[in-house]
C-alpha cells in the first residue's frame, strides 16, 4: 500500500544519525552493509562484471568525500549516503504496485521485491539517490535499516542494530528512535545541531547528519625569553634551578 501511514507525534521513527565530524570515510559501513544484505532475507545484492572492465554492483550505502570551503578555510568531509527513511517519501507514493511501502509502526521504508515490477520510478522520485536497481532480478533495492537484524530476537539485544552501525570503526553512526525526543539519538541531534538533508524538498527525512566541528585549545603564547650564555634561556634556567628529586 503506497499511501503513507499517518504520522502522529510520538510515533516511532527508526533511523540513523551520522556524525560527519567523526566519519573517516573508510567504507566499512558500505561493505559490511553489502555483505549483510547479500545473504540477507531480501536476497542477494548483485555485482556485475566482478573481475572485468566495468566492475559495478548494487549497494545500499555509498561513501563520498568532498572538500568544502568556508570563508577561505577548507576541509575534507566524508559523507555516507543511504536511504533516509523519510516521513514524506515520494518514492513510496509514486510506486504503482504497492511494492514500496513505509511501515506504520517504525517508519522504515521498504521494497517488497515480490511485488516490484522494476519500473524504476521510485528511484527517480528519491532526491538522495538511495535506491539502486537490481539488474539480475529486475527489481528495485534499497536500505532496509537491517529490519532483519534489528528485530531478530535470536540475536543478543546489543547486536540488534543495523550492520553499518555495528561495524562503524569510528563509531560515527548511531541508530535509534528519532520520534522519541528522549532517545539517545534525538538528544545527540539536539545537542549537536543534527541536520536534515535537502529539507526544502519536503521529504522530511528521518536520518540526521551531525555537522563537522572544530575543537580548539585556548593557549597563551609562549614567552620568548632572553638568551643567556651558551644559548640557554632564562625561562629554562629558572625551571632547572629549582631542586629536582629523582
Amino acid at each position: 500500500m503506497t499511501m503513507l501511514p499517518r504520522s502522529t507525534p510520538g510515533s516511532r521513527k527508526l533511523g540513523l544519525v551520522i556524525d560527519l565530524d567523526t566519519c573517516v570515510g573508510c567504507h566499512a559501513c558500505a561493505v559490511n552493509c553489502k555483505e549483510w544484505n547479500t545473504g540477507g532475507e531480501k536476497g542477494v545484492l548483485p555485482d556485475y562484471d566482478k573481475y572485468g572492465g566495468q566492475p559495478d554492483g548494487v549497494w545500499f550505502n555509498r561513501i563520498h568525500s568532498y572538500e568544502t570551503t568556508e570563508s577561505g578555510c577548507s576541509r575534507t568531509v566524508n559523507f555516507p549516503r543511504s536511504c533516509l527513511h523519510c516521513e514524506n517519501p515520494l518514492c513510496v507514493t509514486v510506486c504503482p504496485t504497492g511494492a514500496s511501502y513505509k511501515r506504520a509502526d517504525d517508519g522504515i521504508v521498504l521494497v517488497d521485491t515480490d511485488l516490484c515490477i522494476g519500473c524504476k520510478l521510485c528511484s527517480w522520485a528519491c532526491p538522495y539517490g538511495a535506491r539502486e536497481f537490481d539488474e539480475d532480478e529486475g527489481v528495485m533495492r534499497k536500505c532496509t535499516l537491517c529490519v532483519d537484524r534489528i528485530y531478530d530476537e535470536s540475536l543478543p539485544e546489543a547486536e540488534r542494530e543495523p550492520a553499518c552501525v555495528a561495524t562503524c570503526p569510528a563509531r560515527a553512526r548511531h541508530f535509534g528512535d528519532l520520534g522519541d525526543p528522549e532517545s539517545e539519538v534525538s538528544k545527540l541531534v539536539a545537542e549537536r545541531g543534527g541536520r536534515e538533508l535537502l529539507g526544502e524538498l519536503g521529504y522530511r527525512p528521518t536520518n540526521r547528519y551531525l555537522p563537522p566541528r572544530r575543537a580548539t585549545i585556548a593557549a597563551a603564547p609562549l614567552e620568548a625569553p632572553a638568551q643567556t650564555g651558551r644559548g640557554i634561556g632564562a625561562a629554562l634556567l629558572g625551571l632547572l634551578d629549582r631542586a629536582l628529586s629523582r
Binding site: H64, E70, V94, P96, Y128, P211
Partner: protein, 311 residues
C-alpha cells in the same frame, strides 16, 4: 535523466494515439460526426494500435514484465498506476464509440461516447505527464509546463495523424490540416516557453545542502564511492553537452513544429493534401521523438549533485 527508448516510444506514440482519439471523439462530441462510420472505426483502431504499441514498448522498461498487472493497484497515490488504469479504460470507451459510429447509434450516444473517449484519452495523457511532473527532484519536469505541454503535444500530434488519415480516406484534409498547422504554432510557443522557463530556473539545491552543510559553504567532490558508472549515474546522471542540446533544440523546432506547420499549410491550401499531410506527420513523429529525447536528456536529478554534477 537517461532517455530510455522504451519510455520515449511510450510517451511519443501515446501522444499521437490519444491525440487522435481526442480529435475523433472531440469532433463527435461537438456534433461533428465522422464523415463515414468506417473512418471513425479505422481511426479508433489505429489510435488503439498506436497506444498499444507505446504501452507495449513501455513494458521493456520494466524489470519484471510479467508482473505489470500489479501496476493498476495503487491509483490512489501513484500517477503511474493512474496512467495504467486510464489507458485500460480508454479501450472499452473508444471501442464503444467505434461501435456507436459503425452501428450508427445516433446523436446523443455518439456525442456522449465521443466526449468520454476524448476525456479518457486526454486524461491518460495527463496521467503520463503527471508521472514526470510530480517528481520533485527533477526541476525540468516538476513544473506546470509539463502537463500543459504533454496535452498540447498530444493534441498537436493527434491532429497531424487525424489530418493524414483524413487525407488518406477522403483525398483532402483542408480543415484538419489547418488545425494541425495552428496546433503546431501553439506547440512551438509552448515548447519555447518551456525552455525559457527551465533555462531561467535555479538549481534545486547546492551540494552543501545535499550533504547537510549550510548553503554558505562551497563543496566539491574529492572522491566518489566508486569509479565506474553505477545505476544512479546511468539513470540520473545522464548528461548532454550544452552545445549539443542547443543544436537539438533547434532541430526539434524545425522538425517537430516548423516543417509540419509548413506541410500542413500546404495540405490545407493546395491539392497535394495526402503527400503534405503524410510529410507533416512523418516530421512531427520524428520531431516529437527528438523533443521527448531532449525532455529526458536535459532533465537533471538532484541526486546527481552527490557526484558533483550540475543540476
Amino acid at each position: 535523466m537517461n532517455p530510455a527508448a522504451s519510455v520515449l516510444l511510450l510517451t511519443t506514440l501515446t501522444g499521437f494515439a490519444y491525440g487522435l482519439l481526442a480529435w475523433i471523439g472531440g469532433f463527435a462530441a461537438a456534433g461533428v460526426p465522422p464523415r463515414s462510420p468506417g473512418f471513425a472505426v479505422v481511426g479508433v483502431v489505429i489510435a488503439l494500435m498506436a497506444a498499444s504499441a507505446g504501452l507495449f514498448a513501455s513494458m521493456w522498461h520494466l524489470g519484471r514484465k510479467e508482473r505489470a498487472w500489479r501496476a493498476f493497484s495503487q491509483w490512489r497515490s501513484s500517477w503511474l498506476s493512474r496512467e495504467g488504469v486510464a489507458a485500460v479504460l480508454v479501450y472499452p470507451i473508444a471501442a464503444g464509440f467505434a461501435a456507436a459510429a459503425w452501428f450508427d447509434f445516433g446523436g446523443t450516444a455518439m456525442r456522449a461516447l465521443g466526449a468520454l473517449t476524448a476525456v479518457a484519452s486526454l486524461a491518460t495523457v495527463y496521467c503520463t505527464a503527471m508521472i514526470y511532473a510530480s517528481l520533485k527532484p527533477i526541476r525540468q519536469w516538476h513544473n506546470p509546463h509539463t502537463a500543459t505541454d504533454y496535452l498540447i503535444f498530444a493534441i498537436y500530434s493527434g491532429a497531424a495523424l487525424y489530418a493524414t488519415l483524413h487525407a488518406l480516406a477522403f483525398g483532402h484534409a483542408r480543415r484538419a490540416a489547418a488545425i494541425t498547422a495552428a496546433a503546431a504554432v501553439i506547440a512551438w510557443f509552448a515548447k519555447q516557453a518551456y525552455w525559457r522557463y527551465v533555462d531561467g530556473q535555479t538549481p534545486l539545491a547546492t551540494l552543501a545542502a545535499a550533504i547537510g552543510l549550510p548553503e554558505s559553504i562551497e563543496a566539491r567532490p574529492l572522491d566518489s564511492p566508486h569509479f565506474t558508472e553505477n545505476y544512479i549515474l546511468r539513470e540520473m546522471g545522464f548528461r548532454v553537452a550544452r552545445r549539443h542540446a542547443a543544436k537539438l533544440r533547434r532541430l526539434t523546432l524545425l522538425i517537430a513544429f516548423l516543417l509540419p506547420f509548413g506541410f500542413s499549410m500546404i495540405a490545407s491550401l493546395t491539392p497535394w493534401s495526402l503527400v503534405a499531410c503524410t510529410l507533416a506527420l512523418a516530421f512531427a513523429a520524428v520531431g516529437m521523438f527528438v523533443e521527448r529525447w531532449l525532455f529526458f536528456a536535459e532533465a537533471t536529478h538532484v541526486s546527481a549533485l552527490y557526484y558533483g554534477r550540475t543540476i
